[in-house]
C-alpha cells in the first residue's frame, strides 16, 4: 500500500505551462475542455428566454430576438477553470450585464444565475456590475456551441469559470446570499482565482 509520492518515470502529460501571468496553480491550455455535469441542454432559440428578477419579484424578460437587439460588445479575456486549466485571450461577444440591469431598482447585494439543466451559481451583485460580466452568445467568431453553454452563458472572467453559468436563462437578485449548485457542494462561495479560492473554507 502506498502513501509515498510516486513519480511515473517519463510521464509528462498534456502540454501545459505554468506561466508567470497565470493565477496560482493554473496551467495554460490550447484546448477548450468540455466539462459537464450532465446532459447538454438543447435549447432552441425560438423558445429561449432570459429573466432578470429583482428581489421584488417583478421579472424583466427577453426573448432571443429581443436579447439580440440589445447592444453587444466584443470581449477578449483570460478564463480560469477550477480544474487548473487557463486559457488566455479568449474572444467572445456578449451583452453586458450592466445593460440588463440598467434602470432596475434594487437594494439586493447578491445574485443567483440560473441555467437550463438546473444549474445555478451565486455571486455578489457587485461582481456582475461595472463592466465585469456579460451574457455571451458568441465564442471565437462563432455562435456559442451547446457544449460550451450556448445559446448563451454568463461570462464573469475575473472569477473561476464555474461561476460563468452555462445555458444561462436568468439572474435573480437576492437580499441574502445563497449557495448555488456547486457552491453548496464544497466549491468556494466566491471563487477568486488569484487567491486560489477553489473550495469551501479556503
Amino acid at each position: 500500500m502506498s502513501d509515498e509520492k510516486i513519480v511515473s518515470p517519463g510521464f509528462v502529460g498534456r502540454r501545459r505551462t505554468a506561466a508567470a501571468n497565470l493565477p496560482p496553480g493554473q496551467y495554460l491550455t490550447n484546448d477548450f475542455p468540455v466539462l459537464s455535469a450532465g446532459p447538454t441542454p438543447r435549447v432552441q432559440r425560438e423558445e429561449w428566454k432570459f429573466a432578470l428578477t429583482p428581489e421584488t419579484g417583478e421579472a424583466r424578460t427577453w426573448s432571443w430576438t429581443e436579447f439580440r437587439s440589445l447592444p453587444s460588445e466584443p470581449i477578449t479575456t483570460d478564463i480560469h477553470c477550477v480544474t487548473r486549466w487557463s486559457k488566455l485571450d479568449t474572444k467572445w461577444e456578449g451583452v453586458s450585464v450592466d445593460t440588463l440591469l440598467d434602470g432596475v431598482q434594487t437594494t439586493a447585494e447578491f445574485a443567483m444565475a440560473h441555467s437550463y439543466g438546473g444549474y445555478s451559481a451565486n455571486l455578489p451583485l457587485a461582481d456582475l456590475r461595472g463592466g465585469k460580466a456579460w451574457i455571451a452568445f458568441r465564442y471565437d467568431g462563432e455562435d456559442l456551441a451547446p457544449e460550451h453553454g450556448g445559446p448563451a452563458r454568463l461570462l464573469v472572467p475575473h472569477l473561476y469559470l464555474w461561476k460563468s453559468a452555462k445555458w444561462v436563462n436568468g439572474i435573480t437578485l437576492m437580499l441574502a446570499d445563497k449557495p448555488g449548485f456547486w457552491e453548496s457542494l464544497g466549491y468556494n462561495n466566491y471563487g477568486d482565482p488569484w487567491r486560489e479560492q477553489r473550495y469551501w473554507g479556503e
Binding site: 450532465g38 446532459p39 457542494l185 473554507g201
Partner: protein, 88 residues
C-alpha cells in the same frame, strides 16, 4: 474538444470507494425525482473534475454528487431516497 458523454456508474467506483467502506456501484438506489430503482452502476456518470456526479438513467436527476479537494470530500446524496448496500 468533444461533446461530453456519460459513462456507466461503474466509472465512479474508484472515487466512491474512497469515501465508502464498500463498493457502492452494485448498490440499488431509488431516485427521489422519478422513483426508479437501479444499481448505481447503471447511473450516468458525467466527466467533470474535481468530483463526480451520478445521474438517474431514467430522468437524469442527480443522485450522488461527490467533490474532493483541499483534504475534504463533500458528498451529496439528496437525489437518493435510499441506497441499499451489501455488507459482506
Amino acid at each position: 474538444m468533444s461533446t461530453p458523454t456519460f459513462f456507466d456508474g461503474n466509472a465512479a467506483a474508484g472515487e466512491l470507494r474512497d469515501v465508502f467502506a464498500t463498493d457502492t456501484t452494485n448498490a440499488a438506489g431509488q431516485c427521489v425525482a422519478c422513483g426508479a430503482i437501479a444499481p448505481l452502476a447503471q447511473g450516468h456518470v458525467y466527466a467533470f473534475e474535481p468530483g463526480i456526479i451520478v445521474r438517474c438513467a431514467i430522468c437524469e436527476h442527480p443522485l450522488v454528487r461527490l467533490v474532493k479537494g483541499a483534504g475534504h470530500a463533500w458528498l451529496d446524496m439528496r437525489g437518493l431516497v435510499y441506497l441499499r448496500l451489501e455488507i459482506p
